[in-house]
């Protein structure tokens, strides 16, 4: 389980707080929708959960241990259980396949050892036809799905998706939604930041509403109504 507990965050000492005592818990086998207006702190909360940003105050717990109290090696090990996928996909130079294998390469894992996982991700998200394409020539939707696939190749326990649906066409949305449901059934904890898209709402077990850096939990039905 990962949990942000009473987290306060600001990006510079003189700026305002982006997160103000915000708390959020991700339990295995669940999907949490993180919703709220633009600039409310959704992305910041996902990055804090992923261990990418150190909050000014509060704790980020991985299985009960604050990752910011850990030494570098243990923090890296903990961080590797969670993968954050940005709203704006970033592709490195090379083909789609090069990008899919980027995380494995960065972790020093031989791609052949993860061959089955890669094949499963490629097949599940229908990427076969674009594997040899230049990753920087992809459409926004294609790049979005490749960046999600790149995260899934790593087999994360916690998947933190920042607005994954808006750029995708209907077929890709359906594929991704099906895959997220499958991952949930396998015990993966998923957070989806977004607005009130039908897919995000339908998939979520609970909704964290964030506004002005404060999180309140709601039942999915209350948002639908």
């Amino acid at each position: 389980m990962i949990e942000a507990r009473s987290v306060w965050l600001r990006y510079t000492p003189n700026s305002g707080w982006v997160l103000r005592g915000a708390s959020l818990r991700l339990a295995p086998g669940s999907i949490v929708a993180l919703m709220g207006p633009n600039g409310s702190g959704k992305t910041s909360m996902l990055k804090v959960l992923a261990g990418l940003i150190k909050p000014g105050r509060g704790e980020v717990l991985y299985n009960g241990l604050n990752i910011w109290d850990m030494d570098d090696a243990r923090r890296l090990e903990a961080r590797r259980t969670a993968v954050y996928v940005a709203e704006k996909p970033v592709m490195v130079r090379g083909t789609v396949m090069d990008n899919l294998l980027l995380g494995l390469r960065l972790r020093g894992i031989d791609p052949q050892l993860a061959e089955k996982r890669v094949e499963w991700v490629v097949e599940s998200l229908g990427l076969d036809s674009i594997l040899d394409m230049n990753a920087r020539s992809l459409s926004a939707g294609q790049a979005q799905i490749v960046s999600i696939a790149r995260a899934l190749v790593l087999g994360p326990k916690y998947l933190l998706l920042d607005e994954p649906f808006p750029h995708l066409d209907r077929a890709r949305r359906r594929l991704l939604a099906g895959l997220l449901e499958e991952l949930r059934s396998e015990g993966v904890a998923i957070a989806i930041a977004g607005h009130e898209e039908a897919y995000t709402l339908r998939l979520s077990d609970s909704i964290a509403w964030i506004e002005s850096g404060i999180v309140t939990m709601q039942e999915p039905d209350s948002v639908l109504i």
Partner: protein, 211 residues
């Protein structure tokens, strides 16, 4: 007029060496500034881009002259003196341009690498690798500045025929002698070198960038 090929080759040797030296220390400085977000230092280097070349030439002349603190090295009026001067001249240019490129790259690729579970070193390496086309462009821009530089070459090179004469000092000499035709010919070569390198660097950078 001195042999055109000889002057051009000497100019290329001096400018290329000076630019590579400046890149050798300028890019690591730029990387450190970008990684550690040393905004004030970045602003200092940006400001130093505007220092007049003749002033750098004068300072270097005072350092390298017989009475200067580095006079014992006997570097005044040698190609090495011009190389040192031009390297100092283009360092702020390389640091300033590279810093801007690396800053964006560290923000973008550094975060991507971290989000995929990389260590800090791997994130830094990825950010650097993805910046290479831009860094090559900034180095080419510095070369363009170095190749046409006059103040340093004249003051610490001395414009010695067959030894420290470069295209820019040759132009100055030809103009002073009223040989405008030769000056224009030398100017055309200088312009071709400057533009040619920039265009080639840009095209190569674009090609690498597209993957």
């Amino acid at each position: 007029m001195e042999d055109l090929v000889g002057v051009t080759a000497r100019t290329l040797y001096i400018s290329t060496t000076a630019t590579l030296l400046a890149a050798l220390w300028g890019i690591p400085i730029a990387y450190t500034i970008a990684w550690k977000r040393l905004h004030t230092l970045a602003a200092v280097f940006e400001a130093l881009v505007g220092v007049p070349t003749v002033l750098i030439g004068l300072l270097l002349y005072l350092l390298l002259s017989k009475q200067g603190p580095l006079g014992g090295l006997n570097l005044l009026y040698t190609p090495t003196a011009i190389i040192i001067g031009e390297a100092i001249l283009v360092t702020p240019l390389i640091v300033g341009a590279s810093h801007r490129i690396l800053k964006v790259s560290i923000d973008t690729y550094g975060e991507l690498a971290a989000s995929l579970g990389s260590s800090r070193i791997q994130a830094m390496t990825l950010a650097l690798a993805e910046s290479l086309p831009g860094l090559a462009s900034s180095t080419a821009m510095a070369f363009s500045r170095a190749v046409g530089e006059l103040g340093v070459a004249l003051l610490v090179g001395g414009n010695l025929r067959g030894y420290t004469r470069t295209l820019s000092t040759s132009i100055a000499l030809e103009v002073s002698m009223g040989e405008y035709g030769d000056a224009i010919k030398l100017g055309a070569v200088l312009l071709s070198l400057s533009l040619g390198f920039s265009i080639i660097a840009r095209l190569l950078g674009d090609r690498v960038d597209r993957g």
